[in-house]
Amino acid sequence: MDLHPVLLAGGQASGLYPLNEAYPKALLPVGNKPLLYYPLRLLEKNNFKEVTVIVNSRDLKSIKQSLDEYPRLASSDIEFNTFEVHDSDETGSAVALSALKASGRIKSDLLVLSCDVLSTVSLIQLWEKHVTLRSAVSLLLVKPLPSNNSDERQKTSTPAFGGAGEKDLIGLTESGQVVFHSSLADVDDELKLSKKMLQRTPHFKMHSNLLDSHVYIVSRWVLDYMQEHLKNALSFKREVLPHLLKNQDSKILLQFSERFHDDIDKLASQYSSSPVPSPTQCHAHTISGAELCTRVNTVSLYMEANRMIGQHSSSFMLDSGTSGQGIKSSAISGDSVVDESTQLSDKVSVKRSMIGRHCVIGEKVKVINSVIMDHVVIGESCTIQNSILCNQVRLEEKATLKDCTVGPRVTINSKE
């Protein structure tokens, strides 16, 4: 695949409050590994040898450190280039991509990934679609499994953490052309469809069940276009993409795209018997939910991602480091992940949970369906159910937590 992978790791993760106070989004522990490792793993699995990681200058140090540890853990030889974006209010994916473009490092089409993509999908079909249809932007969409999976999701994601993330409204034609893309929350009471758009694509399907995986292939010329016409855009998904979708087949876009399609391309489309779509169109490749693919952009999705990693750690090929180090009588279920450096006392029971580094867990503690980050101290006989404890939380004896999210450095006193 002749693509230049770009990993966006500078995000603010406002949807993950208060977890984002503990770590930068890219370093949030999922299955005791920084979130960032999963998209790297995905790239590696798809045989990419080099990746550009876009990092916020604020997080540069910690992310670099984490990246340095990666090859040892995953025993890989993928090469990193970090690209620093200065932290200001105006940082966004579109700004970062424009800056990268300005640095002159881009020589092929971009594969843009968000750092919160958890997936094992093969990207070859997406790339094939991108090349054959000469898309401006190609999107990878995920269709969740019907019924049983969504039921489960509803059961497990408790209302305490809000819904299962924002829903996208995506309009697709039969050939996979994307004609509409917006977050459902951004649409007012009425969705306005322009007649021109309808005349261009008189029939399409509106999906509210598809998940945008935030894996995009972006044609080179789109960046030129952004540089010239969309200087003020901040977010790629919210501003650039809707603009491109709205102006598919427009003259201006066509001019830009033609700069990068050589004469052979033009001849091919001229003499081809089957109609070749205009290179200004955006297309999507939809995969069914049978393949693992999820995003971590809300607290409930974060919980779920941890649970999923517990169950499918092997498919991500990351050594999960489960261990029942120390005390034999502690019961750790197979779908839990507990770091080696954590001290577990007697009669601790851990089910479907993740416990981070250097934690101290007292006797008779029950941890069910929860995520416990690093340096957490839990007193005797506590029960933690369906909760997230950020780093350096201290729980005193006999505390019971259910459906809670506890921010970093909080001490919970059991006797009020």
Partner: protein, 691 residues
């Protein structure tokens, strides 16, 4: 409503198994005027057969056993027609009931009337009396019954035919956007976007349904399979006037009433309504091209036609002169005579017509007993029965010549004319505008109409010109929309129109991608126009107007050099459409707004290039706009006085016309601007002298 039905016959026969159909044989609109003053639309011949015969035949072939025909206008004529037809004979496969009603203004009232008569016993098919179709109706009926089994609240299953925008059987006023649930096929939204740029779809349907199909590629065939309670629903909601009201009502009040409507799509079967002149032409062609098989002329029992190559359909008793030419797609009715050297193509001609020598006919629909003199030239028009053309008559495209009209020798009927002899052109609706729609709509003439008007039909002619009534702005139903019928003459126009232009191909023409204007440019101009207009009327500070325009420039991503042009264009547009563009008012307004927006103009129009392009814009709009031309010089002078344009710009602009042959408009403009130029040149010389 009529769930308890007296059972006739043996136990095995259940009256609810009889499939009934209701045909609304009145369109409740007047698009075929003046033809429909003398004959109801349902009886207008389409390729030599009355329209309603196609509908009834379609129902009979589909296995419908009982048909109710609901007629209002010309009910007697329709009744008479059916009494003579084979449907009223013993051997007829269907049982016909004619329901006559004198005062029934809408489909809704018709169904309420049917409800009161309690003749519907089971699921029934509702169609209009102008339907031509060969689709598998049983399939929809089965689907509807199945839906009713699983979902008792199903009230209607509508048939939609796939037809890309601009398809020729897609009539403009029936333009429709629907949204259906992909999983169940339930209709979730339905809107007629006539004259709208944007269509608003309520968002909650997307929240409730995971996948929704948006269809703008369909036409509503007006075929509905209805549950027996549909007439009752019409009675309960007396504000439902049309089928469209009903559908909208059910969808909007879905939660209240709990009723559902489903959609059925057909793509390779034929279904179309003859709802206006355009579709009359399109469907006629489709009949000739055999898309509606088996409803083709050579399949008719009554008047057998022979079918030959190039779609020639010839009936019996025809006499063709030795060297007449029937090119292609021609239907000739029984006992018609065609003279020598006459050329006919793409036309259908009725019975007992007499066509003279050296006549050229193309794209015409000629009904019965028409006499056409020698050397006439007829193109793309409808010619009703008993019309007589004297020798040398020319009929330009888009005309309607109604019954009994006689056109005098060598007369030219101008494109788009409608001629009639009927004095009470609107006998069935005369309350508000009926009296005025005579020959001269502007002067209400209470005097009796002249027998004929020579200027309309030529010397020795009979009949007069009929003008369509002005559309009533209060009328929401749009039934008075009289769009002009320009079948073939619009070939120069782009997209939509030209695709109704049929050269025998049926594939819908793809929309030209290159002519597509960007949405953004249009929207930006609209906003600029708003800013400029409201700036003057509400005296907004010029700085704020600049701010507003800059904001929309960013929003729509307009290059900076486009902005002054848009601003200038907006200034020239004049006041909003409510005020008429009278000369003094317009110039006053423009000068006033130019002065008002001086800051704005100076802000944007910087540099010689921009000045030149602004001046060119003013010139081109003066060439196009009749109203701007006489005041062009004043505008240029004002722009000069406001320092927006330099004298050098104006002079170099003027010099570009020297030595070239100017068009008529350019000459006019140059002439008006000449004093200004002269004055400028003198001023320049003076200043040079001073130096």
């Amino acid at each position: 409503m009529s769930s308890k039905v007296v059972k006739k016959g043996g136990k095995k026969w259940n009256p609810e198994d009889v499939i009934q159909a209701v045909v609304i044989a009145d369109s409740f609109n007047f698009r075929f005027l003046p033809l429909t003053t003398e004959k109801p639309r349902a009886l207008l011949p389409l390729v030599n057969r009355p329209l309603i015969d196609y509908t009834v035949e379609f129902l009979a072939v589909s296995g419908i056993e009982e048909v109710f025909i609901y007629c209002c206008a010309h009910a007697d004529a329709i009744k008479k027609h059916f009494n003579q037809s084979r449907w009223s004979k013993q051997s007829s496969p269907i049982k016909l009931h004619i329901i006559m009603s004198e005062n029934c203004p809408s489909v809704g009232d018709a169904l309420r009337d049917i409800d009161s008569q309690a003749c519907i016993k089971s699921d029934f098919v509702l169609v209009s009396g102008d339907l031509v179709s060969n689709m598998e109706l049983q399939e929809v009926i089965k689907k509807h019954k199945k839906l009713r089994e699983t979902d008792k609240m199903t009230v209607m299953t509508n048939v939609y035919k796939k037809a890309a925008p601009g398809h020729r059987t897609r009539s403009k006023e029936d333009d429709i956007l629907i949204a259906t649930s992909s999983s169940s096929g339930r209709l979730l939204f339905c809107e007629k976007p006539i004259g709208k740029k944007k269509i608003s779809v309520p968002t909650d349907i997307f929240e409730e349904n995971e996948e929704i199909d948006i269809h703008y590629d369909v036409l509503d065939c007006h075929i509905s399979v209805c549950s027996p309670n549909v007439p009752q629903l019409f009675s309960d909601n007396f504000d439902y006037q049309t089928r469209y009201h009903f559908i909208r009502g059910i969808i909007v009040n879905e939660e209240v009433l709990g009723n559902y409507i489903y959609a059925h799509f057909i793509s390779d079967q034929y279904a179309a309504r003859v709802s206006n002149l355009q579709t009359y032409e399109a469907v006629s062609k489709d009949v000739m091209y055999r898309w509606v098989y088996p409803l083709v002329p050579d399949n008719s029992i009554l008047e057998p036609y022979s079918y030959g190559r190039h779609n020639l359909y010839l009936s019996s008793g025809i006499s063709l002169a030795f060297d007449c030419v029937l090119e292609e797609d021609v239907v000739l009715g029984p006992d018609t005579t065609v003279g020598a050297s006459t050329v006919i193509s793409h036309s259908s001609i009725g019975q007992r017509c007499n066509i003279g020598k050296g006549v050229t006919i193309s794209g015409c629909y000629i009904w019965d007993d028409v006499t056409i003199g020698d050397s006439c030239k007829l193109s793309n028009s409808i010619i009703a029965s008993n019309v007589e053309f004297k020798d040398g008559v020319i009929v330009e495209p888009g005309c309607i010549i109604s019954f009994n009209v006689v056109v005098g020798q060598d007369f030219r009927v101008v494109s788009g004319t409608r001629l009639t002899t009927s004095k009470n052109s609107l006998s069935f609706d005369t309350d508000d505008w009926g009296d005025e729609t005579d020959r001269d709509a502007e002067q209400a003439l209470p005097i009796t109409m002249p027998e004929c008007v020579d200027s309309d039909v030529g010397c020795g002619g009979k009949g007069f010109k009929w003008d369509p009534p002005q559309p009533d702005s209060d009328d929401e139903s749009g039934r008075f929309i009289h769009e002009k019928w320009h079948p073939h003459i619009t070939s120069g126009n782009i997209s939509q129109e030209s695709s109704s232009d049929s050269n025998g191909t049926r594939s819908p023409s793809p929309l030209p991608l290159t002519t597509e204007l960007d949405d953004a440019e249009d929207s930006f101009y609209a906003e600029t126009l708003d800013c400029v207009r409201s700036g003057v009327t509400d005296s907004v500070k010029p700085e704020n107007t600049i701010l507003m325009i800059n904001a929309s420039k960013h929003a729509y991503n307009i290059p900076i050099q486009e902005v002054p042009l848009n601003v200038m264009k907006a200034l020239l547009e004049g006041p909003s459409e409510s005020t008429e563009g009278k000369k003094p008012v317009l110039i006053e307004y423009i000068i006033k707004s130019l002065r008002y927006h001086k800051t704005l103009l100076l802000h944007y129009v910087k540099g010689n290039d921009l000045q030149a392009s602004v001046l060119n814009l003013v010139t081109s709009s003066a060439m196009k706009e009749y109203a701007i031309r006489p005041i062009f010089a004043k505008i240029v002078l004002e722009l000069y006085n406001l320092d927006v344009l330099d004298e050098s710009t104006i002079l170099s602009w003027h010099s570009q016309f020297k030595g070239t042959r100017a068009s008529k408009e350019q000459q006019e403009i140059l002439k008006s601007v000449a004093p200004v130029i002269e004055w400028l040149e003198n001023a320049e010389e003076e200043s040079e002298e001073e130096n």
